[in-house]
C-alpha cells in the first residue's frame, strides 16, 4: 500500500506535535521515523493509525484520503513498545482477537493463528498466559497479533526499546526479514539511529515536529542536508568546529584560532562562498592518531591532549580537546592512547561537511 502524508499537522491547544509533514512511502517499502523523544514521530504514526485526528493536512492510502476512516477500517497492524498485549487473555486469545472481532469461522481462526504463531516461533506457547512470557516472546505475540489480520500497512512504535541488547539485535534482523518476505509496507518509529539505518529503506529524520530530511540511509550519512541530521545520524556523533574557509596560496584552508586544515577544493569552494564563519563537520572515523604508519601530514595534522579513552573492543573511542572543543575520534586500539597523552591528530578531509551557522543548512547539499 502506498502511503502519502501531505502537510500533516497535529497541535494541542497551540502545542505543535507534528508540523506540516509531507512524505511518501512506496508500496512494500520500510520507512523509519527517526528522532529524539518528543520530536513528533509517534504523533505522526498515531495519526497514520487513526488514533489521533490530524489538525491539518491529509493522510492517503493508495491515493484515498483516510483522515476520517476509523482505525479498524484502515487495514493496519501495529506493534507497540509496551507490547500492549491483553493480559487477561492467553497467547491464542491475543493473536486471535482481531479475527474474532471480524467474526471469522472458528476453524479458520485457529488455522490462521497457528500459521502466524509458527511463523513467529511461538507455536508452542498458544495456551500460555501473557504474564508467563519473556519480553522477547511477548513482542513476538504482539507482532503476530499485528500480522494475523494480514494488514496492508504495518506500524511499529519503538518495538525493540524494551528488549535487552542481544535480543534487540536478533529481533531487528527478524523483523527486517519478515517485512521483506511478506512485502508489507511498514513505518517504523525509533530513536535508535542504528535500528533506522539497518532496517529502513528510507529514513525520515524528525526534530521538534518538523521533518528534517527524508532519504535513503547512505545519503543521510554521507550527504546530511542539515546540521541536525549530521549530528543525529551516526554514532558516535559528528564533530563540529567553527571555522573560516579561505583560499591561501592556491589551497583552501579551514581556519580558526586553534586549527588550520587543508580542505579538498570541491567542498571548500562552496563553503568559501559563504561570508564569515561556517560550521565544519568531521566524523569520528575521519580523525586518526598519527604514528609511524600514518605519519604527520602538513596541513592535515594538529596536536591535542587525550582526555577520555573508551575501549569499544574492536577500537577505542577517544575524547580529545581541540581549542576548547571536545572532539571524538575512533582509533585502532593498538595505538594504546591513554588519558593525558599528547597526540597528533590526522584528519581525513574527503568527507568533511559544511553548514551555515544561521540556517543550519548544509552548504554542500542544499
Amino acid at each position: 500500500m502506498r502511503v502519502e502524508l501531505d502537510n500533516l499537522s497535529k497541535a494541542w491547544d497551540g502545542v505543535v506535535g507534528a508540523d506540516r509533514i509531507t512524505l511518501e512511502v512506496a508500496d512494500g517499502e520500510m520507512v523509519a521515523f527517526l528522532g529524539p523523544s518528543g520530536c513528533g514521530k509517534t504523533t505522526t504514526l498515531l495519526m497514520v493509525a487513526g488514533i489521533y485526528r490530524p489538525t491539518g493536512g491529509t493522510i492517503s492510502f493508495d491515493g484515498r484520503v483516510v483522515n476520517e476512516v476509523a482505525p479498524k477500517d484502515r487495514g493496519i497492524g501495529m506493534v507497540f513498545q509496551s507490547y500492549a498485549l491483553y493480559p487477561h487473555m492467553t497467547v491464542f486469545g491475543n493473536i486471535s482477537y482481531p479475527l474474532r472481532l471480524k467474526r471469522l469461522e472458528k476453524g479458520e481462526i485457529r488455522k490462521r493463528v497457528e500459521q502466524v504463531a509458527d511463523m513467529m516461533g511461538i507455536g508452542d506457547l498458544l495456551d500460555r498466559r501473557i504474564a508467563q512470557l519473556s519480553g522477547g516472546q511477548q513482542q513476538r505475540v504482539s507482532l503476530g497479533r499485528a500480522l494475523v489480520k494480514e494488514p496492508q500497512l504495518l506500524l511499529f512504535d519503538e518495538p525493540l526499546s524494551n528488549l535487552d541488547a542481544r535480543l534487540r539485535l536478533a529481533m531487528r534482523g527478524e523483523i527486517k526479514r519478515l517485512q521483506n518476505d511478506l512485502g508489507i509496507t511498514s513505518i517504523y518509529v525509533t530513536h535508535d539511529q542504528v535500528e533506522a539505518m539497518t532496517m529502513a529503506d528510507k529514513i525520515a529524520v524528525m526534530s521538534k515536529g518538523v521533518l528534517q530530511a527524508y532519504d535513503i540511509p547512505e545519503a543521510l550519512y554521507d550527504r546530511p542536508k542539515t546540521l541536525f541530521v549530521a549530528g543525529f545520524v551516526g554514532n558516535p556523533p559528528m564533530n563540529f568546529f567553527d571555522v573560516e574557509v579561505m583560499l591561501l596560496g592556491g589551497e583552501f584552508h579551514a581556519k580558526n584560532e586553534s586549527l588550520d586544515l587543508i580542505v579538498p577544493d570541491d567542498r571548500a569552494a562552496k563553503a568559501a562562498a559563504k561570508e564569515g564563519r561556517v560550521v565544519m563537520g568531521v566524523r569520528p572515523e575521519d580523525v586518526d592518531v598519527a604514528d609511524d604508519s600514518s605519519p604527520r601530514v602538513e596541513g592535515l595534522t594538529l596536536s591535542a591532549k587525550v582526555e577520555v579513552v573508551e575501549p569499544l573492543g574492536r577500537e577505542d573511542l577517544l575524547g580529545v580537546v581541540v581549542g576548547g572543543v571536545n572532539v571524538r575520534l575512533l582509533v585502532d586500539k593498538t595505538k594504546r592512547a591513554k588519558p593525558g597523552d599528547l597526540v597528533d591528530l590526522v584528519f581525513n578531509m574527503d568527507n568533511v561537511q559544511f553548514f551555515d551557522p544561521e540556517t543550519e543548512e548544509s552548504l554542500l547539499w542544499a
Binding site: 487513526g50 479498524k72 501495529m78 507497540f80 509496551s82 498485549l85 491483553y86 482477537y97 482481531p98 472481532l101
Partner: protein
C-alpha cells in the same frame, strides 16, 4: 544501642541477635494485642450477651445472681417473619447498590479517565465537593425528590418514598462520588497503548471498555463492590428516614425498632439481632479479606 539498631540485622554487633529479634517480635505482638483489645472485648461481650439472661460486664448472670444463666431465648426471633423480611430488604438494598454503583462507576470512571468532553473538569470537582457533603444535610431535599419520584406512574412504587428501590437509589447516589473517583484512578493507571491496540484490532469504543479495559480493573471493581455491599448492608440513616413501618425496614432499622422509649428494652435481644445481622458480613469478610488486603497494600493486582 541506637547504633546497633541502625545497622541491618546480618551486620548486627549485638552478641545476642536472636534474643533481640525475639524481644522485638514480642513487643510488636503485645502492641497489636493491646490495640485491638477494646474491639475483642466488645465482640466477646456481644456474643456472651446473646446467650445469657443478663450480663454484668463480661460475666453472664443467672436469676439468682450467680455465674451462669445460659439461654437460647434471645434467638427466638429467628422464627419471626419480620426479621427475615428485614434481612431480605437489607440484602436487596445492598445488592441493588452493588450493581448500580458498579455499572455507573466503571462507565463514568472510564469516561472521565479517557474521554474529552465539555464539563469534564467541572463534573470531576463537582462530584468531589458533593462527596464532602454529609448525607444528613441532604435528607430534606432528598425527601421531596423521593416523593416526586413516587408519583411517577408504574415505576413510582419501586423507587419512591418508603420503598426499597428508593432507599437503594439514594444510597447509590451517595456512594457514587467515591466509586467514580476510585474507578477513574484504576483506569488512569492502564496504558493507553492497550486501548489503541484494541481499536486497531477492530474493536468499537464500547467493546474496548467491556472486553479490554474492564477486565484490567477487576480488582478495583471487586473492592468497590465490597465497600458498597457493606455500606448498603449497614445502611441506617437513609432507610430510617425514608421508610415507614416494618414492611421496608432493613436490619439496622429493624434493630432500632427493638429499642423503645416507652417500654424497657431487652438488651440481650438487641445483641442477638445485632449478632444475626453481622453473620453474613463475617462470612463475606472471611472469603474476601485476602483480596481486600491486596487492594489496600498494592492497588491493583494481576495486571
Amino acid at each position: 544501642m541506637t547504633i546497633t539498631e541502625a545497622t541491618p540485622p546480618h551486620h548486627s554487633t549485638s552478641p545476642f541477635p536472636k534474643v533481640r529479634e525475639k524481644m522485638g517480635r514480642r513487643f510488636a505482638y503485645g502492641f497489636l494485642i493491646l490495640s485491638i483489645a477494646p474491639i475483642l472485648v466488645g465482640y466477646s461481650w456481644l456474643v456472651i450477651a446473646t446467650f445469657s439472661i443478663r450480663t454484668e460486664g463480661l460475666l453472664p448472670r443467672n436469676a439468682e445472681g450467680g455465674i451462669g444463666g445460659f439461654t437460647l431465648s434471645n434467638w427466638a426471633f429467628i422464627t419471626d417473619d419480620a426479621v427475615w423480611n428485614a434481612m431480605l430488604n437489607s440484602f436487596l438494598i445492598a445488592v441493588t447498590m452493588v450493581i448500580g454503583v458498579g455499572v455507573a462507576s466503571t462507565a463514568g470512571g472510564y469516561a472521565l479517565s479517557r474521554m474529552k468532553f465539555a464539563g469534564r473538569k467541572v463534573f470531576l470537582t463537582g462530584t468531589l465537593v458533593l462527596h464532602a457533603f454529609k448525607a444528613e444535610m441532604l435528607l430534606i431535599a432528598i425527601f421531596f425528590v423521593l416523593r416526586w419520584l413516587g408519583g411517577i406512574p408504574l415505576i413510582g412504587g419501586f423507587i419512591g418514598f418508603n420503598s426499597v428501590g428508593g432507599v437503594a437509589l439514594v444510597m447509590i447516589a451517595l456512594e457514587l462520588p467515591l466509586g467514580i473517583w476510585l474507578m477513574k484512578g484504576f483506569f488512569d493507571n492502564l496504558p493507553w497503548d492497550m486501548e489503541r491496540a484494541a481499536l486497531i484490532d477492530g474493536a468499537s469504543r464500547f467493546r474496548v471498555w467491556w472486553q479490554i479495559m474492564l477486565p484490567q480493573v477487576r480488582p478495583g471493581l471487586a473492592a468497590l463492590s465490597l465497600f458498597t455491599f457493606i455500606s448498603g448492608w449497614n445502611a441506617y440513616l437513609v432507610p430510617f428516614t425514608f421508610t415507614v413501618g416494618t414492611r421496608v425496614a432493613n436490619m439496622p432499622v429493624f434493630l432500632s425498632q427493638l429499642i423503645s422509649d416507652t417500654a424497657p428494652t431487652n438488651w440481650n435481644l438487641v445483641a442477638a439481632v445485632g449478632m444475626f445481622q453481622m453473620i453474613p458480613l463475617i462470612i463475606f469478610f472471611i472469603f474476601t479479606q485476602e483480596l481486600l488486603l491486596n487492594i489496600y497494600a498494592g492497588g491493583s493486582k494481576g495486571t
